[in-house]
């Protein structure tokens, strides 16, 4: 892995991966006496699909929450775009270009798909409340631009038919896709996906995998994802971090990770005496 750690590399399928976008340095996070994450370091490079995997309770979601600024680690540093990130609220992190989806879908149920996607544009709106209320001049132009962007994403994710449907009426698989649409609407430099395929059937998983690959390919978005389905992770990602009991037990390409003894033990089970 050493040759990859500082600069970019080229993937097996010929994609050029850039330099380091985000680096986690010795992160430790605990809730009271419970240590969720212990001294973990890894990096995410520009343009890659980076997976974080591990058994239940390994601390994957906590890790994602640290990246998104929802949890503040007790120790360690988060470096983003070449600078150390100070303590931030999640909305400030979002403004830096990090968007996410949630394991338990967090959409606005009563609003239409389109309106939900439009909320993803919030950080790209500069006009004030009054101007938007009057909807004249710049506010109007801005709305049109944002709508155009939202429509392109709706087209991209093939959800035109449900554009005006309230989210509450949608089946689970589609809600997941709408969440992805909203995150994409923010035009993130880093997209965090928290179990994008949990609870899906094989066909829905295949669709979602295709969308994730296309997003990465078409928009060049860097993606960090957490996923349980090993098959999916191995197929999708360029590099994988493996966690178990809050510790990092492996890091590398899917092939390297697959052959790592610690990872095999964590997944297949080994006696802890």
């Amino acid at each position: 892995m050493n040759d990859m750690s500082t600069e970019g590399y080229t993937t097996a399928d010929g994609r050029k991966i850039g330099g380091t976008l985000m680096e986690m340095k010795n992160i430790t996070l605990s809730f009271g006496g419970v240590k969720a994450i212990t001294d973990i370091s890894f990096d995410i490079k520009e343009g890659e699909i980076r997976a974080i995997i591990g058994p239940n309770g390994a601390g994957k979601s906590s890790m994602l929450n640290v990246i998104s600024g929802f949890y503040i680690p007790q120790q360690g540093e988060v470096w983003y775009q070449g600078a150390k990130r100070p303590q931030m609220r999640p909305y400030e992190v979002a403004r830096q270009g990090i968007a996410r989806t949630f394991q338990n879908i967090a959409l606005f149920d009563g609003m239409s798909v389109l309106d939900n996607v439009m909320t993803g544009r919030l950080n790209h709106m500069t006009t004030g409340l009054l101007a938007q209320g009057l909807w004249k001049g710049k506010a109007e132009r801005e709305e049109v631009e944002n709508r155009e962007r939202a429509e392109k994403i709706i087209d991209f994710l093939e959800i035109q038919a449900i554009r005006k449907t309230p989210v509450a009426r949608l089946p689970y698989g589609l809600k997941k896709r709408v969440e992805l649409a909203r995150a994409l609407a923010a035009e993130p430099s880093l997209l965090l996906l928290d179990e994008p395929m949990a609870g899906m059937n094989v066909e829905e998983k295949e669709d979602m995998s295709r969308f994730i690959l296309d997003v990465n390919d078409e928009f060049g978005t860097t993606i960090a994802l957490i996923e349980h389905d090993m098959g999916v992770v191995m197929d999708l990602s360029d590099r994988v971090v493996v966690m178990d009991y809050g510790k990092k037990i492996g890091d590398g390409t899917p092939d390297e990770v697959r052959n790592n003894q610690a990872v095999i033990d964590a997944y297949l089970g080994v006696s802890h005496d």
């Binding site: 399928d13 010929g14 049109v144 087209d155 991209f156 035109q160 038919a161 078409e218």
Partner: protein, 688 residues
């Protein structure tokens, strides 16, 4: 997208601006009707395009909903787009006489590609976009297509998969670049790039293009369409400019179509109907072709466009009716009552009012109120508010379904046609519409009925030949130009309307000599919203049995309301309550069939509800959703045997093909249900 798009404002109501050609017809002094001498010099579709670009320059020719708004192209812009593409084709090396396969859903780009192909003297061959790789390979190798114009990665992948078996194939052009960035672009080109190359090489090729266009005559090939056919390999039907233009002209005059009309193009582009409506008639009259945003949004787009001229196979009307009925089941009691009362009234007087027959004042008044309360809003929801002429064809429509739409005041008519006839053989004139006939011979069509009942026709629209298949051409079309339809029928003596009995080869006799006409019974069964498809067997046997497919939407809704849990189609199809409900339908149909002296032998003695939907991917149906009887009978032979040998159930395993071409198998144990049959005195019925 190209730079010529016109964008309306985001966020506004998306009904497209109908411009100066609203439903009320012409404003602004442009002559809309066609003079008949216009035929001279208009010997090809590209020639019609040039005329339209001159005469209807600023009128919308195409609209497509994209990114949530209706983008539109005028006839003048359309001509420029097509010209750029045609120049690009020449630049890419397209020769006269080449075949260009076109694979995609209804989008302006593909219509342009067809006309651009014609402009350079090539022959467009539209294919079914959901065809399997195997089917595609057969057609493309058969015509020897050198070029392919397709929609996106899915089709590009499919063609790449089969390209080793295609000896003539050279270049592929795609519209949607998504996911294709990393592909080898030696023989792969983007649609807009080909157009850009064409524009760049304008001075180099324009004279060549003009010369090629000049060479097109009434007898040049306009298009080649592969018929799916219920048996055997697809055949390439060659249609000339004469076939298409004469047919389009006659049919447009018959229904008084003009440049102000609007259609929604949503039926497969490989189907002759779409070619006649969206190319033939659209270019002849200059009306606007609207393309939906995606197949799933078709219903919404239909409502937004509100076409004035509409065409659908019975299946679409059945689905829409089923949806209406399902939603009414969920409506409040008051609304439901209102609906029932007014629909009953519409059934009574609606068709008569539509046909201009005398109806009492009170009934008229009540119909008006109904129109305000129910019919108008319902038509608007269905997208039929502005329909002036609507057709159903392809298959017989259930009379009850037909009457439902007519009673709402929608001028829905039937026509009878074939690919080989450029669609039109018979049509129903306004005011002479009935569910059980298909109308009178279309303008310019001669019809003859043979002694065995088979229908023959001859017209200007009669196809040139089956491509590379002289044998089939000879067996279908004789030296004088008469074409055998393969359908059996007769003219009603008093009205002169043609009645179709069935496919000639499907009509048979039962063991006791009585007539076996499966379609008649199947259509009666399919009238029930629960029943999606039915297949009747009994030719040469002593009694009839049937396969039934439930309609998942209707039965699923019913199950939900009755708290019946199910995990799969298969489980729902085998549920005892579903079987009981289907049994009651079958028995009701038996009663009705027993009334018909000729066909009383076709009552269903036993039936089975199949564990899977009959599907084109499994070869059980054609791409236009007609059941392939022989294949079904062969594939499910074990079930048919069980239906006849009296066993109460049958365990079976069926191979299925998924949409991506992978295969799997499903096993099921199906219950066989006995249905009560009516004893008919004139005929012996084997006792159950």
């Amino acid at each position: 997208m190209t730079a010529t798009l016109k964008q309306s404002r985001w966020g506004e109501e998306n009904r497209p601006d109908s411009g100066e050609f609203g439903p009320k017809g012409a404003k602004g002094g442009i002559e809309l009707t066609q003079s008949s001498e216009a035929t001279s010099g208009l010997a090809s579709v590209p020639a019609l395009l040039q005329r339209n670009a001159r005469e209807f320059a600023n009128k919308a020719a195409y609209r497509e909903k994209e990114f949530g708004i209706w983008q539109s192209w005028t006839w003048a812009e359309t001509e420029k787009e097509i010209e750029a593409l045609a120049l690009g084709f020449i630049n890419l090396g397209v020769n006269e006489g080449d075949f260009i396969a076109i694979i995609g859903r209804n989008r302006p780009h593909f219509y342009w590609a067809m006309v651009a192909a014609q402009s350079v003297g090539a022959v467009p061959v539209p294919l079914y976009q959901d065809a399997s790789a195997e089917e595609m390979a057969y057609v493309m190798e058969h015509c020897g297509a050198r070029f392919v114009v397709c929609q996106d990665q899915e089709q590009v992948d499919k063609v790449i998969e089969i390209q080793d078996g295609l000896h003539q194939f050279e270049h592929m052009i795609y519209v949607d670049p998504r996911g294709l960035r990393k592909y080898d672009h030696h023989a792969l080109h983007r649609f807009v790039d080909i157009q850009a190359q064409g524009r760049a090489a304008y001075y180099e090729w324009i004279e060549d293009l003009k010369a090629r266009r000049e060479k097109l005559t009434y007898d040049s090939t306009c298009v080649m369409l592969y018929t799916s056919g219920t048996t055997g390999k697809p055949k390439g039907v060659v249609l000339s400019n004469r076939n298409i233009i004469e047919t389009a002209k006659n049919a447009s005059e018959f229904d008084h179509l003009n440049a102000g009309d609007e259609i929604l193009a949503y039926l497969p582009m490989a189907w002759v109907g779409d070619f006649i409506f969206s190319v033939g008639q659209a270019y002849w009259t200059g009306f606007c072709t609207n393309c939906p945003e995606s197949p799933e949004t078709m219903m919404t787009d239909l409502r937004e466009i509100g076409p004035t001229y509409y065409f659908a196979p019975p299946r679409i009307f059945e689905t829409q009716l089923t949806n209406v009925m399902i939603r009414m089941e969920d409506a409040s009691p008051f609304k439901k009552r209102l609906f029932d009362v007014f629909m009953a009234h519409a059934k009574k007087v609606g068709p008569a009012i539509l046909d201009g027959k005398p109806v009492g004042l009170w009934d008229r008044l009540k119909y008006k109120i109904g129109d305000l309360a129910i019919y108008g809003p319902l038509k608007n929801t269905l997208g039929f508010s502005r329909v002036r002429v609507g057709y159903t064809a392809g298959e017989a429509i259930g009379p009850e379904i037909f009457e439902f739409y007519r009673s709402l005041g929608i001028n829905l008519k039937q026509l009878y046609g074939q690919t080989e006839a450029s669609v039109f053989i018979t049509v129903q004139p306004d005011g002479e519409v009935r569910a059980d006939t298909v109308g009178v011979p279309a303008k310019g069509v001669e019809i003859r009925i043979e002694e065995n009942g088979e229908i023959y026709y001859r017209s200007e629209g009669t196809f040139v030949e089956y491509y590379k298949n002289a044998e089939s051409t000879a067996s279908t079309k004789d030296a004088e130009g008469w074409v055998a339809t393969g359908d059996a029928g007769f003219f009603e003596p008093d009205t002169g309307h043609l009645r179709i009995i069935d496919r000639a080869k499907d009509v048979g006799t039962m063991a006791d000599g009585s007539l076996f006409a499966p379609k008649y019974v199947e259509n009666k069964l399919k009238f029930y919203p629960d029943i999606l498809e039915a297949v009747l067997f009994g030719n040469g046997k002593d009694r009839c049995v049937a396969f039934i497919n439930i309609d998942l939407t209707a039965v699923g809704n019913w199950a939900e309301r009755n708290n019946i849990a199910y995990a799969s189609y298969q489980e729902l199809a085998g549920h005892p309550k579903v079987l009981a409900s289907i049994q009651s339908h079958v028995e009701a149909v038996n009663e009705s069939v027993a009334q018909d002296e000729m066909l009383s032998g076709c009552q269903v003695h036993r039936f089975v509800v199949l564990h899977k939907e009959l599907d084109a991917d499994d070869g059980e149906m054609t791409r236009t959703r007609k059941v392939r009887r022989v294949i079904v009978a062969d594939k499910f032979k074990d079930i048919i045997d069980a239906l006849y040998d009296g066993s109460p159930q049958i365990s079976t395993t069926t191979e299925v093909t998924y949409e991506d071409g992978r295969k799997g198998a499903i096993s099921a144990t199906l219950s066989i249900v006995d249905a009560k049959v009516q004893t008919v005195t004139t005929q012996k019925v084997a006792a159950e």
